[in-house]
């Protein structure tokens, strides 16, 4: 059966997220507070990310960061990144046991194979730049400010942040306070869809603004000669256009359970997010063990746990290896739906975006770092693989899938995390390769 489903213009919703993720506050690449005075000089860090999702998005992202450390503890940092992304992004529609054909508003059609999550293709280029300045205020206090900017075809973001750190208790404890503000604009190609309406509804031209305000407090402590502990709490308030302009929700026929129509999604125009992060760094005889746990919650109903662990092992004085495991579990937004039933009254808010759903991810990887003798620069090479799956998807009229290689592994991972029968594998496992080079001069 061929189902004609009009789809929004091809563009990346993944990209919006990447745009919004530009650091509000200075990232770890800036020198740590008043604690360890660094030698004056320049440092260049470059990296190249190769990111691929199975059958979907492929991103190539080169980045560069130049830092100048001055003798009095001041530092200037400039970062640049370019993203070239091509691929396909899930629409939010339901997979069925049959082939589906999607036609975009520009007339291009793409075919979704039986049982696969419907996607649409896109291509985009994004530029991002950030500038940071650190100024010590006395010997125990340090302040940093940052500004950043990013631009792509359908999203622009500009923002700044401020962070202050104070060393207390004989420099054993460091307190940090920071805040940031971001102003984003979303201007989807073809105009903005009206929420929760069939996508034949005419689109509204123009910009959709979004403001993001963040505050954070942090404390860290040298517990013993070997152990550093830290905790951070942050709160973010987002207001404005928070809906994904390219996602849709399938309307299923109550009798056959097959998707027969679709509507655009709609999210509230405010979001209050909170999180607490506990970090530990422990130096064993030779190896260093890093562990982070983060608990996140927001007023959309999303709650998540993240556990991230790494071990740094020196192979020699010139090389090291750092294996990494990250586990993530998320409970869905209150308005998350897998699909809606045709004929039922539409809810006030709804989204079928898997990123707001009952999502689990598991990432495994390792970094290898080495220096070339006689040269001051350090190279890093990292490979990572991330499994993703949704749990608790209600059964629909999907014909049992034909066995493709890897199905057994996916099936068992999905089954483990699942309580209500039928784990839904997204087919979006992600592989990344990151190469890096850092050199002082």
């Amino acid at each position: 059966m061929r189902v004609q489903l009009a789809s929004p213009s091809p563009a990346s919703s993944v990209r919006q997220r990447l745009g919004a993720a530009a650091c509000l506050l200075l990232a770890g690449s800036m020198p740590a507070a008043a604690q360890t005075p660094l030698a004056p000089g320049w440092q260049l860090e470059t990296s190249g990310l190769f990111y691929g999702e199975q059958l979907r998005a492929k991103v190539i992202e080169p980045t560069g960061r130049l830092t100048r450390q001055f003798a009095n503890g001041r530092a200037l940092s400039l970062g640049l990144a370019v993203d070239a992304i091509t691929g396909a992004s899930p629409t939010g529609g339901l997979p069925t046991g049959q082939v589906q054909t999607t036609t975009s508003s520009s007339g291009r059609s793409s075919t979704t194979t039986a049982d696969a999550v419907p996607t649409h293709p896109f291509q985009d280029l994004r530029y991002a730049a950030d500038l940071g300045w650190t100024e010590p205020l006395g010997s125990l206090v340090s302040a940093s400010t940052s500004a950043h900017f990013s631009q792509e075809k359908d999203y622009a973001s500009i923002g700044g942040g401020l962070k202050t750190s104070v060393d207390v208790l004989n420099r054993l404890v460091t307190l940090t306070v920071g805040g940031g503000y971001n102003h984003d604009r979303v201007f989807p190609t073809g105009g903005t869809a009206v929420g929760l309406s069939p996508d034949t509804t005419p689109r509204v031209p123009g910009d959709n603004p979004k403001q993001v305000r963040t505050g954070l407090v942090g404390i860290s402590r040298v517990v013993s000669r070997r152990w550093l502990l830290g905790a951070t709490g942050s709160q973010t308030r987002e207001t404005g256009y928070l809906t994904d302009p390219y996602k849709i929700i399938s309307l299923t026929d109550p009798a056959t359970q097959l998707p027969v129509a679709q509507v655009t999604e709609k999210r509230p125009s405010e979001r209050l997010r909170d999180d607490v992060l506990a970090s530990s760094v422990y130096h064993f005889e030779q190896d260093i063990f890093y562990a982070n746990y983060r608990y996140y919650w927001d007023d959309w109903g999303v709650r998540s746990h993240t556990l991230d662990m790494k071990v740094r092992h020196d192979i020699s004085s010139e090389s090291w290896v750092q294996p990494h495991v990250r586990l993530y579990a998320q409970s869905p937004a209150s308005f998350f739906v897998f699909g809606l039933t045709q004929g039922q009254p539409l809810p006030e808010f709804a989204s079928a975006d898997e990123r707001l759903g009952p999502l689990r991810t598991a990432t495994f990887g390792a970094t290898y770092g080495f220096r070339v003798p006689g040269h001051r620069g350090e190279f890093t090479l990292r490979g990572e693989y991330m499994y993703q799956w949704l749990v608790g998807r209600p059964p629909t009229a999907i014909a049992p899938s034909t066995n493709t290689p890897g199905d057994n592994l996916r099936g068992s991972i999905a089954a483990e995390g699942d309580d209500s029968g039928g784990g839904q594998h997204l087919g979006t496992n992600i592989g990344t390769i990151l190469i890096g080079y850092t050199v002082p001069f």
Binding site: A27, R65, V222
Partner: protein
């Protein structure tokens, strides 16, 4: 309501890290802490990339790491 209690509980937990303990760490025992790998983020350029990836694939925002540790000099 629950959000407010959770935020309060979270902040109290944070404060717990700052309470002076019985064992102090002498300035000359900061040799390991002085190493550049004894930071919350050992490979800085990885963190920015990771934030992008996880933010774009998951529903949560990243927690920011606090400054701290180090050799405690000056």
């Amino acid at each position: 309501m629950r959000t407010r209690r959770r935020t309060f509980a979270a902040l109290v937990l944070l404060a717990g890290i700052g309470i002076p303990g019985c064992a102090t760490v002498h300035p000359w025992d900061r040799d390991l802490m002085a190493k550049p790998t004894m930071r919350f983020v050992p490979v800085p350029h990885e963190m920015a990339v990771d934030d992008h990836i996880y933010f774009s694939k998951e529903g949560s925002t990243g927690g920011m790491d606090a400054a701290g540790g180090g050799c405690g000099c000056n």
